[in-house]
Symmetry: C2
Subunit: 390 residues, 2 copies
């Protein structure tokens, strides 16, 4: 299933899952979404991971053929799982966690496979477990972060006068791919879709989107109305670059701002306010701190600077200033006013206090941090100032 | 909600949905996945489309702000829908179709909004409706097809000696984007993930993947194990290019093969067999023909040519030779041995009889067709021969 040097990591992850299962008196979790199959095995396969509340995980695999390992069992359909568990010597679960984030069709089928089990929400179990990263995962996030920053350093080199936002984005996409970006932007839930990220400039930043991203943009098509819209990048515009950092299966999130010509003072003040919010929130962001308190701190700083009207959007506002990130870009915790999340050590959080200045564009930075007892430490490291392209 | 010139198209689509709803005695369908929101309104929004079995569709919108139109109602949460229906003067549905392809969480929430309704599978309704394209949709598919073919014509111009498969793919991705490709590869279901498509060469074509795509490849990471793996493109290798044609929100699917140096006779014979299968299947593929019969025809031609061992994969085989395509890449009908689908006029089908030749790579072509009374007519048009890159 995986190489032998991944075995200790796999065991560590099962144990974390088991600790949560035991706390809700569940006997097992049965996973079938790609993000959780990847988490539980270190690779994507077509099938199911069964993690009992004690002992080793069992992998029921449909495809690809040829996976080897002690706990790998090939199946054609999930209805074979109960008999195989019995054969292995495991009792059938009385209380079983199944992923609510899977399709209703898949969920219903798995429920029918275990007709006598009480069913509970496996997505909630995994969301909790995955929000705190292992050292191995932090290593992959750091690796993504280094490459992410390397690409951002080169953005100036691909810009030329007279470019449109989409032309610049295409060159950044190519840089990302040449540096090893896998392209895929994993997002939990089906309502959010985006290609590799966003480059938005000028008034397009103020166009509302249907998606729950921090920034807007009309997009190039009604079929994916977000991000660049073909605007010519002109003097006086801020160009916000928020592209996906998936170099390792673990994604970093990072935003920097570029300018052409002079930006008005308001844009510079708002950008500085974003930097100030980063400093304050990252100092306060320690284990046991409420995520909602970090949101409120950010809002209060924006208000005090008289910039509330532009904070987290202007025509339409985003309802959060940061979010967990890892295998997916929208993990726990969420830094939002009604969030119930409490920070824990080794959570990884993308913080994105941004401002939309009408007729100028979006300013502010985003960095990905890990939570430590000393506060949030940035893992994406690059200069924070607005970079002049002209 | 949409421009006035889309109004007749929207009405036509509702009527198609209503015809299926009436056939199963359902009073309405409530849609919430992006693909079906796009189909029912011509744009992506965050919210719900409610289509009663008679009359006009109602759009319940959460985001973006500012959408206008007679049947647009802003809501904060789906629990507001029943009261709004009553206010509009519509009866609450006794039998309601909800999408089984939505997450179990979303499905369960919508069921609770209509506690007295009998619930049926809305995904099946929409799959049936969307398999037959309107003239408007065919126009968008043709537009995608023309651009798709234009890019393939330019592939030779971005190849240079000593490239790896991923380096070539990155240049093709850039060409696609510069020609207006939106990037997004919409696939129904969460178990299939891919970036913009596949470039596979040499033995990598014979590496099994977990995904239900026709072709394999190890990929660059365990987090997305499909497609190119960094192989150097060397003399004697076939390079299969199967990249996504999403230029309009409607995707065409198209594969061509390139070679470096001489390919063995077996590869040329298999490529010609693929062309022969295209001719035979497209002649037979008329309304009322069984999809399974087309699959069987393809298999019999491959067998007769003595190429069965390589057909649709070698180490691991795909279980189909073609599939419907439109907003998503895996629509109905499916050309597979146990498919119950029957062809209908104006269905759009990607046909991909391919062969994997060990140590050489994958050969064969894929084209997107529309079903007509005279057979399947290709909408992706480009030379079918293997193109020499060296």
């Amino acid at each position: 299933m995986y190489s032998s040097n991944f075995q200790p990591e796999a065991s560590l992850r099962w144990k974390r899952v088991q600790s949560v299962l035991q706390s809700i008196n569940a006997d097992a979790v049965l996973l079938n979404t790609n993000a959780n199959l990847y988490y539980s095995s270190g690779r994507i396969f077509n099938g199911y991971t069964y993690i009992p509340s004690e002992g080793e995980a069992i992998y029921f695999v449909r495809r690809p053929i040829g996976l080897k390992g002690e706990n790998v069992h090939y199946i054609h359909k999930p209805e074979q799982i109960p008999a195989l568990l019995t054969e292995i010597g495991l009792p059938l679960p009385r209380k079983l966690a199944i992923e609510w984030d899977a399709s209703h069709g898949d969920f219903t089928r798995l429920c029918a496979v275990f007709p006598d089990a009480e069913i509970t929400n496996g997505s909630a179990v995994m969301r909790k477990v995955r929000s705190v990263k292992t050292d191995y995962e932090l290593g992959l996030l750091h690796e993504s972060a280094v490459k992410h920053a390397e690409v951002y350093h080169r953005i100036e080199s691909v810009y030329h006068n007279g470019m449109t936002d989409i032309e610049l984005q295409i060159e950044i996409e190519r840089l990302l791919r040449l540096h090893g970006n896998l392209g895929l932007f994993r997002i939990n839930g089906q309502s959010m879709e985006i290609f590799m990220g966003n480059v938005i400039c000028g008034d397009n930043a103020d166009t509302p989107t249907p998606y729950d991203f921090a920034m807007g943009g009309a997009g190039l098509s009604c079929s994916i109305p977000v991000g660049c819209n073909g605007s010519l990048i002109r003097p006086g515009m801020a160009v916000m670059v928020d592209m996906c950092g998936n170099f390792t299966g673990y994604m970093t999130d990072m935003t920097r701002v570029y300018s052409v010509g002079e930006l008005p003072d308001l844009a510079h003040r708002a950008h500085q306010c974003s930097i100030d919010i980063h400093r304050a929130v990252s100092q306060m962001g320690k284990p046991s701190v409420k995520a909602a308190d970090l949101y409120n701190l950010a809002i209060s700083i924006a208000k005090e600077a008289g910039l509330e009207n532009y904070f987290m959007g202007h025509t339409q506002k985003a309802g959060f200033i940061g979010h967990g990130v890892g295998i997916e870009v929208n993990e726990a915790p969420v830094l939002a006013p009604r969030s119930k999340d409490i920070l824990e050590g080794n959570q990884v959080i993308a913080l994105e206090p941004k401002f939309v200045i009408p007729h100028v564009g979006a300013v502010g930075i985003e960095d990905t941090y890990m939570v430590t007892p000393e506060g949030m430490k940035a893992i994406t490291n690059a200069p924070v100032e607005i970079v002049s392209l002209s």
